[in-house]
């Protein structure tokens, strides 16, 4: 089974809020000096891929679009046991919307040859658009199953365990297929072995440009991008502490109700009982 996992490098979502900043020029998240990590659901997708490979054999390839430092997430996949990783880097890939991202990824997937399964996280850990996986399926004109937590081999294809809000459903599908992966207790990313980590550090990582994957750069220009991000704003929440006053509990309750009314949290018709 040939599997491709698409991994996005994002600013560590675990990083403290105070390190989050917006670059005033680009209106995008300032990635400088922040620790960059693989988007968490993408690591769940890696684990799903590794388990399938452990059972069925086959080739695992990790793909990422990003600057040279994004090879870090590819090395992470190699350290977990992936056979190959490819960085997609080209000036024309910058400022991608989900359509463009999916287009670039699908071109790279075509170049890799016949692929049975393409996995992505169900959404990215930063923008949470949840669109790239389905759009890759659209580009490649193949089926797509979203929010899967487990995949196993079944007769004539694959059995996919799809998470629903109050349960799950089991689907049978045959490759080629795109599956987007949600986290689950069964697909937490494994820990790398030191030896694989060392081997992954030595493994060459090819970089493919727009030309390498036969991209029609025109397509990025006309028609213009379907979605454009205008700005990103960090909302701040101020917290203040107020003392409820009053000699007796009743007085304190009255004071509290008055304050809640003043802030329109309680309607004026509400009577304290």
């Amino acid at each position: 089974m040939n599997i491709v996992v698409c991994i996005k490098q994002i600013v560590d979502p675990e990083a403290p809020d105070r390190t989050f900043a917006i670059d005033p020029v680009t209106s995008r998240q300032d990635r400088n000096r922040l620790s960059l990590v693989a988007s968490p659901f993408d690591l769940n997708a890696c684990e799903v891929a590794l388990r399938l490979r452990d059972g069925l054999g086959g080739q695992l390839t990790a793909l990422t679009i990003g600057p040279p430092e994004a090879t870090q997430v590819l090395r992470q996949a190699l350290g977990l046991g992936f056979g190959a990783g490819v960085l997609l880097n080209d000036p024309s890939f910058h400022d991608a919307d989900p359509f463009k991202t999916a287009y670039v990824l699908s071109r790279a997937i075509r170049k890799l040859g016949p692929i049975d399964l393409i996995l992505t996280g169900c959404e990215s850990g930063d923008m949470a658009g949840a669109a790239v996986g389905p759009l890759i399926a659209e580009e490649l004109a193949i089926g797509c199953i979203t929010y899967a937590s487990r995949i196993s081999a079944a007769r004539n294809g694959l059995e996919i365990h799809r998470t629903l809000s109050h349960g799950y459903e089991l689907l049978h599908a045959s490759p080629p297929l795109v599956v987007t992966v949600i986290s689950d207790h069964a697909n937490g990313p494994r820990l790398p072995k030191l030896r694989d980590l060392l081997a992954s550090a030595k493994q060459p990582i090819p970089v493919w440009t727009a030309l390498d994957i036969g991209i029609d750069v025109e397509r990025f220009a006309v028609p213009p991008m379907k979605v454009k991000e205008c700005t990103v704003v960090v909302t701040t929440r101020e917290r203040a502490c107020a003392w409820i006053v009053g000699e007796t509990v009743q007085e304190q309750a009255r004071d509290l109700v008055r304050r809640l009314r003043d802030r329109h949290i309680l309607g004026s018709e509400t009577r304290p009982s």
């Binding site: 090395r75 992470q76 350290g79 820990l191 790398p192 072995k193 030191l194 030896r195 980590l197 060392l198 992954s200 550090a201 030595k202």
Partner: protein, 384 residues
């Protein structure tokens, strides 16, 4: 690995450690229990075999990689003391063992199937004066019968093999007291119950240390490392690596304390402002940081010298001294910064504080390092 910082290894170690947060260690601390799951995770990932050459199934990494691994474990709030010796005790076999011994043990150690992490040198009556040790190995046919007592033999209950230093000729028969000592690999799986008794020693921190009683324990001659009578030299040659690695753990501890202290000082508001706005709170943290970074440079220097094979006794000892002091100063300022909360178990600080105190004493006490520097580096008269 090309980058000197071992960034990939560090982040992989940090990810592993994330699975063993404060409550895990607190629970063990309360029970004085061994961190079996943590040690298993490190073993399975291959970290404890990082220094074993590739020919024997290890990762064949230089000492600085082990420095990065241990430092990171401690900087993440975990504690490698339960297993760090698995990394370096094998060096005595690697450097001084015969081919048959290396083939017999090293691949099994590298695979994590054999634990060699107990190291029995110290005795109740010898203390720091290793030349005074009295445990005696009497030649007996094709083996030895060993009788005596060891103390502070850490991890003996969690080890399959134990490296033991014993006398093979009486103290007075040699020109120097450190002569006439030999190193043995004792197979604890066979010896326990056949003359060897292990008794745990409870200490102020969760450290699986023991005392060991030997009464005619039979050890085959094939388990003696190197030549008879040369044991002290063999043990000494492994000590530089041990000093450097323990120093790395101290740096990790120091970084953990400093990060905790700095973050708490920014958040704790008293008198209407963060306590970290007071210089009386800032300065000890800043000083601890400076001391930690300086000590880290000495650890790097000692490791780099070690890796080239150059003499590094002075640097390894200074690294241990400075790093242990930096960790202790950082621990002290971390408790102080946290005020009362520094004493609360849930903050993990009091636990780490107890744990890092050890490195002022073991594996070599601060005084002995100072007297080593005075005598061997500065040429002052020997004081003992």
């Amino acid at each position: 690995m090309t980058d000197h910082d071992y960034r990939d290894i560090r982040s992989a170690v940090a990810r592993l450690c994330a699975g063993f947060p404060g409550p895990y260690w607190r629970g063990l601390d309360r029970e004085r229990a061994y961190p079996t799951e943590f040690v298993r995770a490190l073993t399975e990932a291959g970290y404890l075999a990082s220094l074993i050459p590739e020919a024997y199934g290890g990762a064949g990494l230089p000492l600085s990689a082990a420095v990065a691994i241990l430092e990171e474990i401690h900087a993440q709030g975990c504690n490698a003391a339960a297993c760090h010796a698995q990394m370096y005790v094998m060096a005595t076999i690697l450097r001084h063992g015969g081919d048959e011994q290396k083939q017999r043990w090293l691949p099994e150690i590298a695979a994590g199937r054999l634990r060699l992490q107990a190291f029995a040198v110290t005795e109740p009556t010898s203390g720091t004066d290793t030349g005074a040790l009295a445990t005696f190995a009497r030649r007996d046919g094709d083996g030895y019968a060993i009788t005596g007592q060891k103390i502070w033999t850490s991890r003996a209950e969690h080890s399959d093999l134990m490296l033991l230093l014993a006398r093979t000729s009486p103290k007075d028969a040699n020109a120097k007291h450190t002569e006439g000592l030999s190193v043995f690999v004792v197979d604890l799986r066979e010896a326990v119950g056949h003359g060897l008794t292990i008794r745990p020693v409870r200490t102020m921190m969760n450290h699986a240390t023991t005392e060991i009683f030997l009464d005619g324990v039979r050890v085959p001659a094939a388990n003696r490392i190197g030549e008879e009578g040369q044991g002290f030299r063999y043990i000494l040659s492994g000590m530089n690596a041990e000093r450097i690695l323990i120093a790395a753990e101290c740096i990790g501890d120091a970084r953990w304390f400093i990060a905790k202290a700095a973050s708490y000082a920014k958040e704790r508001v008293v008198f209407g402002r963060p306590i970290g706005r007071n210089q009386g709170v800032q300065f000890p943290i800043a000083r601890a940081h400076a001391a930690c970074e300086a000590a880290a440079l000495m650890v790097d220097k000692a490791a780099a010298l070690f890796e080239t094979g150059a003499p590094c006794g002075a640097e390894a000892n200074m690294a241990k001294l400075l790093a242990a002091d930096a960790a202790w100063a950082a621990a002290e300022c971390c408790v102080q910064t946290h005020g009362g909360f520094g004493f609360a178990e849930d903050f993990d600080i009091e636990r780490k504080f107890r744990e890092t105190r050890l490195y002022q004493v073991a594996p070599i006490s601060t005084n002995l390092i100072l007297s080593y520097l005075a005598e061997h580096v500065l040429g002052l008269p020997r004081s003992y």
